[in-house]
Amino acid sequence: MPDAPTVPDRARTPLLTLITQESLDEDYQHVAEQRAAARARQGVEDHGAGGSGRRGHWVAAAVVAAFGMLVTVAAVQTSEGSGVADANRESLLHQIDQRRDQSAQLQGRILRLSERNVGLQDALNEVTDAERTTANRVDRLAAQAGYGPVRGPGIVITVDDAPNGEAVRAEDLALLANGLWAAGAEAIAINDRRLTARSAIFNSGAAINIRFTPPLSPPYVVSAIGDNKALEANLLDTSTGLAFSNAADALGFQVTTDRRDEIDLPAAELRPPHDAVMGTAEENRRPDGKETAP
């Protein structure tokens, strides 16, 4: 191993060792050696070096100033950059947190809404069932009350004026209708006009009227749904039925009774009550104590 790394040795010296050995620029060494040689040649006197050295010092100072400025600028730049980067990072993290919170909130809302949806679906099903039940009930009640069409076995009694000119009066038809109700008829129609709880049979002049319908004209066809085997016999058992029968015999009305297995009765026209209010006064009492307007 040679003492000093000569030029051929450079190739054999490890890189790190070389770097460490030559950490000082060789140029300083070169210049120093040259100067020493020059000094040896020209004696101890060092002419002109003072002036150039002074000027050179200023240049070196300027370079050092440039270095200081470089360092400062780099430091300022780096600190500013890191500030921006940190701010970005902070704001991004903040945004992530915010969005995550929002997402969680929305998830919760989805959950609540779907639960509510299920509840509403159940309620809807209940209401639909109730609506169907109520509709069925309304149909049944309408048929019973005369506001829904009905069909069934029954009898048809045709009453016509007497040949001697004696006309059938409203009282006679009313007796017959009452008798049929009493005998167990479930639905009655006169000339296809259905009788309801509000039907009244009355005379206006010679013509017979059922209330809310056009005047009737003879022959009067009274159709009654009920037990068609017993209805006719039961009719004669009732006092009103008997009264009608007697009147018809006395006045000579032409009465024919026909037993049918299938009678279709139409619905009466529905007229909502004008003055009557649904429910009892107790049920209609409002929470504030006032009664609803009639």
Binding site: Y28, V31, W58, A61, Q77, T78
Partner: protein, 110 residues
């Protein structure tokens, strides 16, 4: 003494003016600073060795900065900018450390 004054003036100027570095120059600033640091410590060591020369210092400073920036620029173009910067910093770091060690020996005689 003049050099210390120059350093102070440079720092003050940098703080006061805070010149904006052009964006394309920004990646080369840190490596240039490290290279300049190496030149400065080298100069300081030479001064303490008694062989300081102004011309050598100025030339080595400028060439260090330019070459370091050029290497990083080349590395950026080749796609190995990061690795080349690391290499340059390692070499300059070793030089700085050994120079500082020599300076320390001069000052503390240890």
């Amino acid at each position: 003494m003049i050099a210390a004054l120059g350093l102070l003036v440079g720092i003050v100027l940098g703080v006061v003016f805070q010149p904006d570095i052009p964006l394309w120059l920004e990646p080369y600033l840190p490596i240039a600073v490290v290279a300049a640091l190496d030149a400065v410590f080298g100069g300081l060591r030479a001064y303490l060795d008694g062989i300081f020369d102004d011309k050598v210092f100025v030339v080595s400073f400028i060439s260090n900065v330019v070459i370091a920036a050029a290497i990083v620029f080349l590395g950026d173009k080749l796609g190995v900018g990061g690795q080349l910067s690391t290499g340059v910093i390692v070499v300059l770091g070793i030089r700085i450390f050994s120079n500082v060690a020599a300076i320390r020996r001069h000052i503390f005689h240890a």
